[in-house]
Amino acid sequence: MTNSNIGTMKTGYAQKRKAADIAIYIILSVMVVIWLFPIFWLVARSFDSDKVVAADHIIPRSWTLDNYIGLFSGDSEYSKWLLNTLIVAICSCVVSTLIILMISYAFSRLRFKSRKTFLNLGLILGMFPGFMSMTATYAIMSLFGLNKSLLGLIIVYAAGAGLGYQVSKGFFDTIPRSLDEAAKIDGATKNQIFWRIILPLSKPIVVYTALTTFLSPWGDYIFVNYFMKDETENWTIALGLYNMVVGNNITEQFTTFCAGAVLIAIPITILFIIMQRFYVAGVTGGAVKG
């Protein structure tokens, strides 16, 4: 084989590769447009003074901040919903994170009789649809006088969180046991090992657990709708926004919905982008590093 032959082969290969790359660039660009369009549309329409859903334009003809102002003035309950969601999210985040860490630490690092039974029970309980027993939960809350209250909602979220221990248990499993043993020889109790050795080593999973439990009440519709029903002042943001675009409300409140959605999407989007690597590690059970 002569040198020139190799040369033509190389250019042929390079051309083919280039064609493939261009095709990929085109596909990716089209996909990005499709994927970002609805978000762009949402943001653009939130500044639009034209309230029609099917307006014949995407970029507003006349820009306005009225939609945002409308959220916080008049008889709008948006700020109330925002505050409710924030209260519920913060409280249930604190309680749930504690509960999840306690359960997963016990199952991961401690060895006791009937541990396997409890693990299996947790697994089985987790397989019932979460809201299947909603009627009963509601009846229990009514007995305590907590139905239609935010406290009831917090308790429901926190109690349900106990079953989401798998990810953090998996994390605790990866911390070498020799650490516990060394501390034990130095006279530390298991309580001290938990607070002083394991927790400081587990910052990523504490952050992941806190963020997921903080974010979940923002999107929940099922329990809020069933618990609060017509008590609009106790609604959370998801239920409030849902009601803006269902049925005939959409013609009146569409652009207000856009503004409300943009406002809460911004902080949550930022949170998610920051925590995406924890998210990936959580889902793949630590198979991915980084």
Binding site: D21, I24, Y25, I27, L28, M31, V32, W35, L36, I39, V53, A54, A55, D56, M102, I103, A106, L110, F118, L125, M127, F128, P129, F131, M132, S133, M134, T135, A136, A139, I140, I155, V156, A158, A159, G162, G170, T174, T189, K190, N191, F194, G219, Y221, Y226, L241, Y242, V245, A265, I268, T269, F272, Q276, Y279, V280, V283, T284, V288, K289, G290
Partner: protein, 518 residues
């Protein structure tokens, strides 16, 4: 193949061998699944059985204190100088007895009442949950009636059933304490017989921060789970065997009663259309789960491959663009899609503008468009997630695998089918099955987009064409107030998910390598 053959392989061959072993293991995994279910019940019964181990022999070998503690809890501990512990046990017994006589027995007696007459002309009902005490004059035998003189006093069936389940749970908990009491009495007796001092109360309390730390950690979560998860689930399972619906609603001062397997019969083999609706929804749920899972999975991996291809530039830009769509809260993007696809919405505006006829994406009665749309929108929602997850995995594939494949003359397609795909599939199988089970339970995508509709003829009980079992369960409970049918559907969803999840748990790395780092 023995270990020596395996050890002599290159890294590439080892991985290929392991992947092959994984696929060869699938039939075994299914067999294992059956074994797991058996083991689960075995472990529950052994735990219960363990409580009885030595129950008799402890009594036989026990001194008078230990023997007494079989009737008067804590007596053994008190006679063995453990006063504080003894008093706690005794207090538990007294509390349980008071609880049962003032509360528990009342609801146990009301759980199955015969000859209950609601006074609505339907005659007396047998097997009712709760009593109806007729107003004075209407029924002289019932005696005292508080409050109104005209209206009968009707028990709230919900409360009766709730308190009945609560009594069951308290009884089980008390039984555990009772067994612990006999063990503790015997243990302290043995210590004294060996000439040692019984463990002091404060030392024992301290132990809850060390050797018995698991009890300290688990007690609060367990109580919360018992009251707000276990109790409601047991209650709901009972509901599946009752007549609790809008005609027999305690909230409307009615009573419900036990009906045996009637509700299961209605779901599986009724003539009224419920079972037909159930069949359609079950099929659609499975079709949806298959399409939603695999479309996202395969296209997400393809997207990740395109972005991660070596010669492609601006990787960060492409990634971020897609991650943003995954980061926006799902209910926001779903509601935006609902607005976009609205029958008079912007997308249809464009279609009619181009001279086409508007498509009722979310409400077309034909059955094709709404289903097609939810699957496509779900792809829009889910592909970025898969891309995010598989991107990390792609970077983990050892480069020398591709190197040796290229030397052997494999082209890009062969490299994908022989290396990339088997590797990713191997690592993500647990994720794939969790996603599948998650899609069976995917309430949000369906409810925010179509609310389960449209509802053409042939669908009863409020169901619609895009309803999954879970959204139908929600509608049955909230809108239709057919609580009993909802409970049956819940049990069916549980059975489907349990089968899926057990396979996942069985195959997942976490359960196999639990002790690897120990």
């Amino acid at each position: 193949m023995d270990f020596l053959d395996y050890a002599q392989m290159t890294t590439g061959q080892k991985i290929v061998y392991k992947i092959g072993a994984f696929f060869r293991g699938i039939p075994g995994a299914i067999g294992h699944l059956i074994a797991i279910i058996g083991n689960f019940f075995k472990s529950i019964f052994t735990t219960i059985g363990n409580g009885f181990v030595g129950y008799g022999s402890r009594f036989k070998n026990g001194d008078i204190g230990t023997k007494l503690s079989y009737i008067v809890m804590g007596a053994g501990n008190m006679m063995h100088k453990q006063f504080a512990k003894g008093i706690l046990f005794l207090a538990a017994e007294v509390a349980y007895i008071v609880f049962m006589f003032s509360f528990g027995f009342v609801y146990i007696s009301k759980i199955y009442c015969n000859g209950v007459d609601l006074g609505d002309g339907k005659g007396p009902i047998n097997g009712a949950i709760g009593h109806v005490i007729q107003a004075a004059g209407a029924d002289s035998s019932s005696g005292f009636v508080s409050g109104s003189f005209n209206k009968p006093v009707i028990d709230n069936s919900n409360n009766v059933l709730l308190f009945f389940v609560l009594t069951l749970i308290v009884t089980v908990a008390f039984f555990a304490i009772y067994i612990a009491n006999t063990k503790s009495a015997y243990a302290s007796q043995q210590l004294i017989e060996r000439g040692k001092n019984p463990v002091g109360f404060f030392e024992e309390v301290k132990d809850f921060l060390d050797e018995r730390f698991h009890i300290t950690l688990l007690i609060i979560p367990s109580v919360l789970l018992l009251i707000f998860t276990v109790l409601p689930i047991i209650f709901t399972i009972f509901i599946a065997f009752t007549s609790y619906n809008k005609q027999a609603d305690p909230n409307a001062e009615k009573i419900y009663w036990w009906v045996g397997f009637e509700n299961f019969k209605e779901v599986f083999a009724s003539t009224a259309g419920t079972s037909e609706t159930f069949g359609k929804i079950l099929v659609w749920t499975l079709v949806w789960a298959v399409f939603a899972t695999f479309s996202n999975y395969i296209l997400g991996i393809v997207l990740a491959l395109m972005i991660n291809k070596k010669t492609i530039k601006f990787k960060g830009f492409w990634r971020t663009a897609f991650v943003i769509t995954a980061a926006v809260p799902q209910f926001v993007t779903l509601l935006v899609m609902r607005c976009l696809l609205f029958v008079d919405g912007p997308i249809n505006q464009v279609i009619t503008g181009l001279g086409g006829s508007a498509i009722n994406f979310l409400g077309d009665m034909g059955g094709f468009w709404p289903r097609f749309t939810v699957i496509v929108v779900n792809m829009w929602v889910g592909i970025p997630y898969t891309m995010l997850i598989s991107s990390g995995l792609l970077m983990n594939i050892p480069e020398d695998l591709y190197e040796s494949a290229r030397i052997d003359g494999a082209n890009a397609f062969q490299q994908f089918t022989k290396i990339t795909f088997p590797y990713i599939f191997f690592v993500t199988t647990p994720y794939l099955i969790t996603t599948f089970v998650g899609n069976i339970n995917n309430f949000n995508v369906i409810y925010y987009l179509t609310t389960g509709g449209p509802n053409p003829r042939g669908y009863t009980n409020g169901a619609g064409q895009t309803d999954l079992l879970v959204t139908w369960l929600y509608k049955l409970t909230v809108d239709q107030k057919d609580y009993n049918l909802g409970a049956v559907i819940g049990i069916i969803v549980f059975v489907i998910c349990a089968a899926g999840s057990l396979i996942t748990f069985n195959m997942s790395k976490a359960s196999k390598n639990e002790e690897e780092f120990s």
